[in-house]
């Protein structure tokens, strides 16, 4: 609740009456509401904000230790006790480290990107640099983080609700353009997990999560009611494998946002889960059967009443289907296109209304804020999104044909932003080569 009021510029408290969660469940005993009615009345008559003057700018913190090791430990302890950590070791955002990170910005450090919802912490480029410093990032990662924050802030996302909701959506940031390789962002094996040869995604995603928590107020159980909260150490930040796109296929940023191929950009989908789909056949299928069986299996995974995806039924997405480049190439050779794949998945993921009724799903459609979505209740079978183009299709993953990956969404929109890099970017990349090895494929294991 503090987040909600600070997010609209009020002091960080509010006149409210709180009850244990049991009160809010079907069939609950409401006796305590009657017993505590005076608290409601007092809230309208006597309440005063105790924190009306609380505000201000960021400040510096300090710790001391007998050694650097001890000071570092105390700094981490201080960050955790102030509820600014994630449980993993953090780099304290010293002025020196933040200034280093800021070399990656094409914008002034004081440039305001917006207020991070729902808490409303003022988010500048420097705020992003502080988070990236804490997350172990490097200067060349900052342009991607800034663009991702800008995309998250787009009003069409309803980011304040995504931050707070119990359903635990997390940003999945797709990066297109040459910057992905330049900063060592993974597009291949294990791209949604840790990779010491391609460490950028972990730091950028972790920094974004720290911003969500520390600046946006998404503290578990307080500012975010995410019941499970998976993928929230690093979110998901990865590159599309543009080299792996079959001839004639366009990068995601081009098909979804109209950016010219070769443009450095981010595209943000809010995912609420990840599901592995064993796509490949097991016996003597022909190539055509293997492709078609795999498509059916993907559609079968998508054919579920994911009611969180209602938020994006018209303009957002029901989810992101990731197919490995080797699968994309084989399918393209068989005549499949990006459009025909989306069309197939859309058509064959429709849910019979009888099944929707069995699951109580129509009630959620009926109360949706969007009249277009409400109107969809007339459709039988019911499509999981308004049109095939809502489905995000990305070519990424290891060079292996067995699996696809379905990230179901809670994504009212899918926002793209162009990444801006400073004029000195090449020097930063050279520094990365110096620090981390050459970064080319030949250097990799």
């Amino acid at each position: 609740m503090k987040n909600a009021v600070t997010g609209i510029g009020l002091a960080p408290d509010a006149s409210m009456v709180t009850f244990p969660v049991n009160m809010f469940l079907p069939g609950s005993d409401l006796t305590s509401l009657k017993q505590r009615k005076r608290e409601f009345y007092d809230g309208l008559i006597h309440w005063k904000s105790a924190l009306a003057q609380e505000a201000g700018s960021t400040r510096m913190l300090a710790v001391e230790g007998a050694s650097y090791e001890e000071a570092l430990t105390r700094a981490n302890n201080l960050l955790l006790t102030n509820l600014w950590g994630d449980g993993l070791p953090l780099w304290p955002a010293t002025q020196e480290r933040v200034d280093w990170i800021l070399r990656g910005s094409a914008l002034p450090r004081t440039h305001v990107l917006g207020k991070f919802p729902p808490r409303g912490g003022v988010t500048t480029v420097e705020t992003c640099a502080i988070a990236l410093a804490m997350a172990g990032g490097r200067p060349e990662y900052l342009p991607v983080l800034v663009a991702a924050v800008e995309a998250c802030f787009d009003p069409a996302n309803g980011f304040d609700q995504l931050q707070a909701t119990s359903g635990a959506p997390f940003p999945a940031v797709i990066v297109n353009g040459p910057i992905a390789k330049q900063i060592r962002l993974n597009s291949g094996f294990g791209l949604l997990g840790p990779d010491p040869q391609r460490p950028a995604g972990a730091s950028i995603g972790r920094a974004l999560r720290l911003l969500q928590q520390n600046v946006g107020g998404a503290l578990p159980g307080v500012g975010t009611m995410a019941i499970f909260g998976a993928m929230r150490y690093t979110n998901a930040v990865f590159a599309e494998d543009e080299d792996g796109l079959p001839p004639g296929w366009q990068p995601h940023a081009t098909t979804r946002h109209g950016f010219a191929p070769g443009t450095n950009s981010v595209s943000v989908v809010f995912a609420s889960g990840v599901t592995n789909v064993r796509r490949r056949g097991a016996k003597k299928e022909t190539p055509e059967e293997d492709a078609l069986n795999g498509m059916w299996r993907m559609a079968d995974f998508m054919r579920t009443p994911n009611l969180a995806a209602l938020a994006g039924w018209e303009k957002g997405t029901p989810g992101m289907m990731m197919i490995a480049p080797i699968v994309a190439r084989r399918m393209a050779e068989l005549g499949w296109t990006q459009k025909s794949i989306r069309d197939f998945l859309w058509e064959n993921s429709k849910i019979p209304m009888e099944q929707m009724r069995r699951a109580g799903a129509p009630a959620w459609i009926e109360i949706d804020a969007n009249p277009v979505t409400r109107d969809s209740i007339k459709l039988d079978p019911w499509p999981i999104c308004m049109k095939p183009d809502n489905i995000v299709l990305v070519v990424a993953g290891g060079g292996h044909p067995t699996h696809s990956y379905w990230l179901q969404a809670h994504s009212p929109s899918v926002q793209g932003r162009v990444i801006r890099v400073p004029e000195t970017f090449d020097r930063l990349l050279a520094n990365a080569d110096r620090d981390l090895g050459c970064g080319e494929d030949a250097c990799r294991v």
Binding site: M1, A4, V5, T6, I8, G9, L10, A11, V21, F24, P26, L30, L33, K34, K37, Y41, L44, I45, H46, W47, K48, S49, A52, E54, A55, G56, S57, T58, R59, M60, L61, A62, V63, E64, G65, A66, Y68, A71, L72, L79, N82, P92, A93, T94, Q95, V98, F116, G121, V122, T123, A131, A133, M134, Q161, L210, N214, V215, M225, I367, A369
Partner: protein, 97 residues
């Protein structure tokens, strides 16, 4: 001793508007209720309306459906404008969870 100085990572907050002043009393006042229709609001808010009407002579508590309801609608400027236009002295908003 080694001293480490580092940034508070929480970002600045800006207080740009005060909370609404409280009422001197509830007698004779006109109260609105804005419901998100969630978390048993359909049971709790009518009960609250009934208690207010019993305890404060002359109070008017507008029907629960006077204003747009639902999570997606109650935060909209249109809803705020309707609340202002209604001339209520105070508003109760519920239910959060």
């Amino acid at each position: 001793m080694v001293k480490l100085e580092f940034h508070d990572p929480s970002g600045a907050l800006e207080v740009t508007q005060p909370h609404a002043p409280r009422l001197a009393s509830l007698e004779g006042k006109r109260i609105g209720i804005v419901s998100n229709e969630q978390w048993q609001a359909y049971r709790m808010l009518p009960m609250l309306k009934e208690m207010l009407e019993q305890d404060f002579p002359g109070i008017t508590v507008l029907p629960i459906d006077t204003f747009p309801q639902g999570n997606a609608l109650i935060g909209e400027e249109h809803t705020a404008a309707l609340v202002k236009k209604s001339g209520v002295d105070a508003v109760i908003v519920g239910n959060a969870a």
